[in-house]
Each structure stands twice: as C-alpha cells, then as structure tokens.
Symmetry: C2
Subunit: 394 residues, 2 copies
Amino acid sequence: MESIKHIPLPERGTKLTEEQAMKLAISEAYKGATRVSPNPLVGSVVLDAQGGFLACGHHEFYGGPHAEVNALKNLSSAELKDAHVFVTLEPCAHEGKTPSCAKMMAKLPLKKVTFGLIDPNPLVAGQGADILRNAGIDAEVFSSADPKEDREIKTLLEEVCEAFLWNFREKKVFVALKMASSLDGQVALRSGESQWITGPESREYVHYLRACYDAILVGKGTIDFDNPSLNVRHPEINKKNKVVVIDGEAELLHRFTDLKLAQIHAASDVFWCVAEDMKENVEKTLKTLSIAPQIIYVKTNVGGDLNLEDLLAQLHLKGLRSVMVEGGAFTASSFIDQGLVNRIYMFQAPIIMGSGGSRSWTETVRVPTMKDKIHVKNPRYLTFGSDFMITGTF
Amino acid sequence: MESIKHIPLPERGTKLTEEQAMKLAISEAYKGATRVSPNPLVGSVVLDAQGGFLACGHHEFYGGPHAEVNALKNLSSAELKDAHVFVTLEPCAHEGKTPSCAKMMAKLPLKKVTFGLIDPNPLVAGQGADILRNAGIDAEVFSSADPKEDREIKTLLEEVCEAFLWNFREKKVFVALKMASSLDGQVALRSGESQWITGPESREYVHYLRACYDAILVGKGTIDFDNPSLNVRHPEINKKNKVVVIDGEAELLHRFTDLKLAQIHAASDVFWCVAEDMKENVEKTLKTLSIAPQIIYVKTNVGGDLNLEDLLAQLHLKGLRSVMVEGGAFTASSFIDQGLVNRIYMFQAPIIMGSGGSRSWTETVRVPTMKDKIHVKNPRYLTFGSDFMITGTF
C-alpha cells in the first residue's frame, strides 16, 4: 500500500521543515496499513518549540488509540510547551471507540496543530480544529509555499487514506488491482501456466499488499487452474483475510470442499459470487456440501456475465471495504473495462513471454483512439529484486 | 546507452576506494557515447599517492586522444608521483591513430595502473600491461574483494564497451531495440496510431540514444504510417545518423523522394533492404528516382521474409557497427524471435491501451512453456517524467 519509501526516524532534536514533518507523519501512517481497516491510516509527528523532532506515532490497529495519542503519550508538559503537532487527518472532535483527540490536545500547552486533511464527514468537518482554536491553539490545514511540494504532499495525504475516503464519500468498496506481467504485458501462457513470472521479493510484497486489503478477489479460472490458497503468507504479518470468488455459473461450487482455499479459510470468510438466476441450482449444490461459503447472488449484464458494480455493492453490504483483485486476465480486464479499479499495483519481471502464445491482462479492453487511452495517475515506481512495480490510481 | 546514473565529479583530494574510482571511470566513459563509434567507450580516473582524486578523462570522439591521455594531460610529474591510474580498458600497446598509451604512461612516475578489461584483441592482449610492468609500474586487472561489487563492476565494465566487444568478438552489428509501450505492453493501436505513448522527457532521451548508435532501423510499416524523419533531434547533440529501412518487397521505394527521411538524410546514408529476388524490379524503380538510397539485397527465409542475420551481415560489410531498431511491432518481434537483439530499451508510459484493439511488440514471439521465457539480463530502471525505462541485455 505504500506509495512512498519509508522515511527513517530522525534523531530527537533534528530540525524538520513543515514539509518534512508532514511527510514523516505520512510515512508513519503507513505502518498501520495491515491492521486499521475500516479506519483510515493516520500518522502524527511532534516538533518542539524550536522545530526539533520530539516524537511520532500512528494509528496502529482498528479500535486502538489514534495517531496523535500515540505520538504525544510519552511527552511531558515541559516538552510540549509551544510544541507543533502534525497529523495527517483532522483530529477527531467526537467520542467514538476512543476519546476525542481534539479535546485531549486542547488541554496541552501546544502552540499549533497542522493537519493534512479536513475530516471528510461534513457533519463534523472543522469541529476538531475549532475545539483547538477555542483553547488558544493554532489549528491549520497543511499547505506549502513551494507549489511542487504542496501538490506532492497533498496527493500523498489523499493517498494514505484513499480507501477510507472512497468508502466514506462513495459508500463503495475500494478496488485495488494487482497484476504480475512480463515486460510485454503478458500474465499467463495460453495454457494457463503463469508460475512464476516475478521473483521472491515481489511475491513477498504481494503478501504484504494482501494484508492491506480486506479481501482477495479472483475469477473462477484462477481457482480452477492454480487451486491457490489466497491467504497472507508473510514472515512479519499474521492476518486472516477474506476471499471473493467470481463463479457466475457456479461451475466450481460443487468442488468447494476440495479446494485448498476452503481448507485454509473459514467458510464464512469466503464469498462466492454467482448469477442471481442460478439460485435454484446453487441451493441444490449447497445441500451436497459439508461446508459452504457465503453465497452472493449478483445481477447479470445483457451478455450474461456478472454485473461487477452490483457485486461490489453486495460486498459492501457484507461489510467489506476494500478488495484486491488478483486475476486472472479476464477478471482484471473486466474490472478495468468497467472503470471499477481505484489503484493498480503492476509488477513486471524482466522477461519476455511473447504475446503470440499468451494472455494479456487487458484482453477485453479496447481503446478506439490514442485520445481515449486510460491514464494511471500519480505513478510511482519501486523495485523488488530484479522486478519493478508501478502503482498509481485511475 | 547509460546503464548507470552519471556520477558527479568529486572535489580534488577526495579519497576514493578502488571501486569508487572504477565506477567513476565508467561514468566518465559514457560521456563519449554519441561520438566514439566504432571505437570503444573508455574512461579513466587518476588518484594521488594518498588515494585522493586528481583528475579524470574519457575518449571523446573517434580518432581523438584516448581516455588516459585526457585524464593525465594536465597533471605535473610531482602530482603524478606514485599516482594510481584507473582505466576501463587495458591501455593500448600499439600506435594507431594516436601514440601508444602504455608507452606514454611508462614514462610517468606512476605507482600503479588498474584496468577494467584486458584488450579483447588476443594478438595484443596483455601487451599494454607488460609495457607498464617493464617500466616498474604495477599493472593489474580490476577486482574487488567484495563479491557483489566485483560482479556489479565487471558487468558495468563489459556494458560500457559492449558494442565494441560484440563487433570485435563476433564481427557482427550490435543490435539495440528501443520500444515505447503502454503498461500493458502495447505499442500501437490496430489503426497504426501510436503518437504519443511516452512523454517529452522519454522522447528526448530516445534522441540521445539515437546518437549512440550508427543507424536507426525501422520496418516499412513505420515509414508508411508515420513518415518519420528518423534523425537526431536533441538540444545538446549535433549528429548525422544513418537510416536502415526494411522493405522486403520494395513497396515504398518508388515513393522514396517524397519521404521526409529522404529530405533530411543524404541518400547515401539511407540503406534500403529488399529481397534479393526483387533485383530486377528494384533496378527499374531506381531509374525513376532522382535520388536513391543505397540498396541492400538480402536473402529470404522460407516464408519469404528477409533473413535478418544476412541483413545484419550486409550492414556490417557497409561499415555499420551498431543499429537501434525502433519498430514497428512486427519488426521488433522478428528481431526478438530470431534472437538478434543485444540490448533492449523499453520505455513504458503509465497508460493502458488495451490489448483488445492494439498491437504488442512481441506478436510473433511464442513461448511454449514458462521454462522457455526470454530473460532480460542485468536489468536497470530509470524514470523519465512519469514514464520509466528498463534496459538490459539478452
């Protein structure tokens, strides 16, 4: 989920500019990436009266203390005299699972609080800042005098809590697409063979990404060909993820108990998406299964394939807030084609598979003229071993 | 042509390790990239008796002074007392267009000369080093005690004069392939439209690359659709390149004088490659032209298309030592398919063109199983604006 490189913590007392402090707060926020959903990722940095680094913190897990609390908790009143707190999101005004951060900070001898984004909830937006101002503390939305820095940091601030903002503003599931291709854009041979395109460093990062999203989504072809586990296997992460399978005509459902994913995941964590007109059929099949996944009945398009927008709406009703689509080629293509992808993670290995006998991840996508090409916005590049990865938004 | 980022010159007196000195010499060598062909790129760095940086130089243009001469020319005997000279290639033993570098250095009060590669010519290999040793100067091939650094630097040393080494060892034209694709590996829409995939920063770098090779090679489709100039347009480079066109059935030859490239290039700098059985036809066409390119008659394969190996052999006979293949999709595919590409420059833009209605650059390449995938070796990544470029060898 990181779109910036992690910034190492400065020594205590190191002078930071406001831009450096806010970037550090963003970098801190990402430390919660695998544990805060459906909450936003939030980070906070505290500078002393002279602008020297004092402490930082982040929202560590859902239901846990907010970033500001973690940043401030070990600092004395003397240290906080005229301190400047940076936080990526406006301090909360209301009591939720935790006390109000704005009220907590209002009692401290701070000089200023700079926050990255105003609370996206219009009903409480600005209230956190008002509580601080009423206590005589400056409270301002971040901005930089350097237009390039200003643009870059504001983009990063939106990105760090993009899933949360999308959920809140659109009431929809945030969709990430992860693909691993050759240099020539191929994701599998025509035979279906695809292991392995990328190297171990990329594959480990994919397991980190899996942990950043509520569920992994795949089409039935991937299940049929690879029989994958679709769980998080990362040396530093212990997380149970959910799985979504698209199997419009319920072709694989009768084999559910034989699938590797059924042995690894609780059946209630697996969402099996079928066409709504398959109901009768599916109910018969379910009677034959000793354990069964959750069934999602989805509307179909004119062509008979599942309506992916309805599918996502139903997953939202089931409480999912983000999914990572992992394939195969046809599923990826469909999500892109229907404009439903929020963020892409495109891993590429330095190999050529030849498009003469393989599958691209955009087979059903057609761009009539160059004017219509689809742009990946705010692209960033990272390397993993001899592979590289581009991530960006749509 | 650079596969490493340019290293800024250190202050005089800055202590450098042997590894740093050799990397700096490699970085210097690339400064001659657009002007030394068919000579090798060579760079040199001089450290004083204490290992402090004194000077550097590179082979600047074909026929000009060698790298060592340029590095040493402004240093006094006092400065050179016990100095250590690094040079990417063994100092020449023989007199050619310039006097022997080994003999010149043998007269200096140097302590040691470390060179990257032994002269590839077996008839003179080691002779430069012997001249130095006979004068009481240590002369050694570079090696590093750190295995990773050793491997990396040796790879860079081969890369910096790869075209020269290939020419010398194989008596063949060095072939670079430059492609610009979308993230999904597409290089043009089915209509042929492809302008623009990449941004201005990438395109400027392509003009630099054009200047690094003797000729630009394209297929007839590119000429027909784009009517390109195929010259070097770069703010800092003034170079006349040659052009190679593959037009097996001489379909475009009769329109030669109307083509933009014919107006820009001297006709003698354009090599028009046709099937040898088209000779009669071609000769008739030539009579109708007021200016005509050089005609290269090429053997054909069983399928009727030009035998690219023969084509390259004929270009070698014409004095060309390196070409950069720029397209289109079919031409690129053919060179890859026949294993004739030495280096790839793959630019990718953060856009999706959809493989449903466009062309990949590997359309005729087929990989039967994942074991057979084609590897790009020693891949390196650079970014240009919002695009990125991968370069590597085959």
